[in-house]
């Protein structure tokens, strides 16, 4: 299990290959990667991601551990960036390895749902007309009721 909170970019392919190179008892590997979307208006200059150093690592580790306790998983990876990102940049990724695909998929979705609403990150969109904090979506909070 690895949790990384970092400003630097990460290489999705290198991370996926390294993660999948583990234990051959795991027949199923799922990755989820979040990418900074350009706004509908197409004028996103930068996405700023603020976080709460200390609590962030603690919250992500707790979420990853809960996933490991709940599903039969061989391994879990969580990487989340903070700082300034541009459209197309990769914000974060999670990966799960499991003997069976259902566990790998469910655990990855669980990680994402909790990470969205329970890890202390805040996004701000900076455009040529100003800067705005991204509002939390009710649907993200509602997603937790599934688990």
């Amino acid at each position: 299990m690895r949790v990384a909170v970092q400003e630097e970019a990460f290489d999705l392919g290198a991370e996926a290959n390294a993660f999948a190179a583990g234990d051959d008892a795991n027949g199923a590997i799922v990755t989820f990667t979040g990418v900074v979307r350009d706004l509908a208006s197409g004028d996103l200059d930068v996405m700023e991601i603020e976080h709460y150093p200390g609590m962030t690592e603690r919250a992500l580790t707790k979420i990853a551990q809960e996933a490991k306790d709940r599903w039969s998983l061989g391994d879990v990876l969580v990487i989340h960036r903070h700082g300034r990102l541009a459209a197309g940049d990769r914000i974060m990724m999670v990966a799960t390895a499991a003997p069976h695909r259902k566990d790998a998929f469910e655990a990855a979705e669980y990680l994402m749902d909790y990470l969205k609403s329970r890890a202390p990150f805040w996004k701000k969109e900076v455009t040529n007309t100003g800067a705005e904090w991204v509002a939390a979506k009710d649907e993200d909070e509602d997603a937790l009721t599934r688990w």
């Binding site: 979040g34 991601i49 603020e50 976080h51 709460y52 200390g54 609590m55 603690r58 919250a59 989340h80 914000i91 974060m92 994402m112 990470l115 969205k116 609403s117 329970r118 890890a119 202390p120 990150f121 805040w122 996004k123 701000k124 904090w133 991204v134 509002a135 939390a136 909070e141």
Partner: protein
């Protein structure tokens, strides 16, 4: 006690962190104390349903006790991922 602010709470109050001397028993008491200080606090805390609080880096509630707590953080709902 260290009090931290993030995202628009930080911007509205105008600082990321401060030391607060308080006898407040609960988070709600602390919020009332801070709000009474200056308008910028009152503005930031005007709608608690739009805020979250963490005590010693664990999510908590506004009616939680502050006994033994060293670090309180206020912030809007999280938007990671």
């Amino acid at each position: 006690m260290d009090v931290l602010y993030f995202a628009w709470v930080r911007e509205r109050i105008g600082l990321p962190k401060e030391k607060v001397d308080t006898q407040a028993a609960t988070v709600n008491d602390l919020v009332a104390e801070l709000s009474a200080r200056e308008d910028r606090y009152a503005a930031a805390f005007s709608d608690l349903s739009a805020l979250r609080v963490a005590l010693d880096q664990e999510l908590s509630d506004f009616d939680a006790s502050l006994i033994g707590v060293r670090e309180v953080a206020f912030f809007p709902p999280m938007t990671g991922g």
